[in-house]
Symmetry: C2
Subunit: 305 residues, 2 copies
Amino acid sequence: MHGTQKTDRPLPGFVGGTLDRVDHVRTNPALLAQAFADPAARRLVLDGLEPVEVEGHLVLEPIGADAQMMDHVLLGVDRQARPIFARLVKDLGPNLVPTPRSRAIAGLIPADEVALYGAARSLVHWHARHPFCSVCGGATQAVKAGWSRRCETCGAEHFPRTDPVVIMLAEHEGRVLLGRQHSWPEGRYSALAGFVEPGETIEEAVAREIHEEAGVRVHSVRYVMSQPWPFPSSLMIACVAQAQDDALRIDETEIEHAFWCDADGVRAAMAGDSDAPFVAPPQMAVAWHLLDHWLGKVVPAAPSA
Amino acid sequence: MHGTQKTDRPLPGFVGGTLDRVDHVRTNPALLAQAFADPAARRLVLDGLEPVEVEGHLVLEPIGADAQMMDHVLLGVDRQARPIFARLVKDLGPNLVPTPRSRAIAGLIPADEVALYGAARSLVHWHARHPFCSVCGGATQAVKAGWSRRCETCGAEHFPRTDPVVIMLAEHEGRVLLGRQHSWPEGRYSALAGFVEPGETIEEAVAREIHEEAGVRVHSVRYVMSQPWPFPSSLMIACVAQAQDDALRIDETEIEHAFWCDADGVRAAMAGDSDAPFVAPPQMAVAWHLLDHWLGKVVPAAPSA
């Protein structure tokens, strides 16, 4: 319900954008030219794909008189009626992997600015990876205010990607299944996750991923919330599923380890206790919010001491 | 919950696949070669992207001895332990638009075969549109059993797309908002829909699309179900949202008309009554199931006569 309901809790990172995306401007050359030439228009300053933060805010700069609209994407119009753009970059160099800075940004600036950065990052990244047409190999050009690229040779139109990813807790008798990847910081565990594949539902993807990674069969998949994750362009779809039993058969090419954790253990980890059974994911990650949601719903298997 | 729970109702089209996708085989050359050489292995027969049905089933053919694995995608292993492949096609010609045959297939063959066809169609279509690398323009080659393409020039790896689409009913005082596109058959109305964009949640996309298309502000977005839609590769995410009021401001470039329909009207349309206020979407569409779900939940604004 994020973005449409008030809540006491912090939002996951990249959720809660407030820009009006003004879809009708993207395909209207006159309105677009007017927005680009608007003296109030601003351009988000990025360092490659990395955010630039000064005194708790992203940096927005005026757009120079020599700038070309076709080198920009129109992110939307902000609450001060300012058209907000990002500059498209032809060559990002090899450094497309998010640095600690881009992950830490969620703690430094307001939620709506984190969301603005996330959208800009995904779009700038996508353009930089699509100067050529996948159909014919010809050169492509940004069109529709940066919301599409058209091939100059064959005319094919290409749209920015958004890759749905399921991230989920399997639940069994008051405990949830947590796993860790080989590359993660010591002690960190989180919900299992994986890309939704062509030809499957969200629920089928949840069941397939949990079975592939941990050998557990699940049913009664329940959607909880979603989050855009701009590394580079995922849509995280967070769910809880009921496990048939708690026997694990871990696929060690996918995850390093997995275990069932009870509510006390999850609560201790979320509180950052030093003797917690694992290190919780950061609050910007939807996994933190999924665990928090689960703690609010869980029925303990036995009375707690 | 489709695919993981039994239900009395028919499934939306393309939901309910039963193949084991054997992810571990895709990246294991020895296991993959074994699967491809398995005398039990079968290849799904397609006519371009169109399904081929004989006596209520898809047609599966043995794989010839001169066939090359790299020209195929491994869809999975069926319940008879047969590896099932589809052949990748270099040139599909101009006819990528689904014909009535590919939409009618859901009524002709079992649900799991419809799902198999949907996955195959999305993958074959994606490969045909990606012989070149979007990063450098070089030639790409199918790898990982057809679940990826690698650029022979720059080494970039490209993955099949799955494009999340929100499809939703706005609800207001016992009525739902239905719209029709200019191109639809006469009288047909359905839920509004649109692509999830980079940088937004499912809930944010629902709110944005309803506002863009009909000028209605919504809150309390609730996820209902999902469906893969292989024209070419959407993941339909069906939701219900609460409208703040019922004033409409229709964007006529997006939709031709929209109106609020009460439960009696929806019920009549679903029953195919000739005097119903609209023609319902087909049962294979998730919109049909979303309307059916809503009818089961709706609280009438006034006692029905």
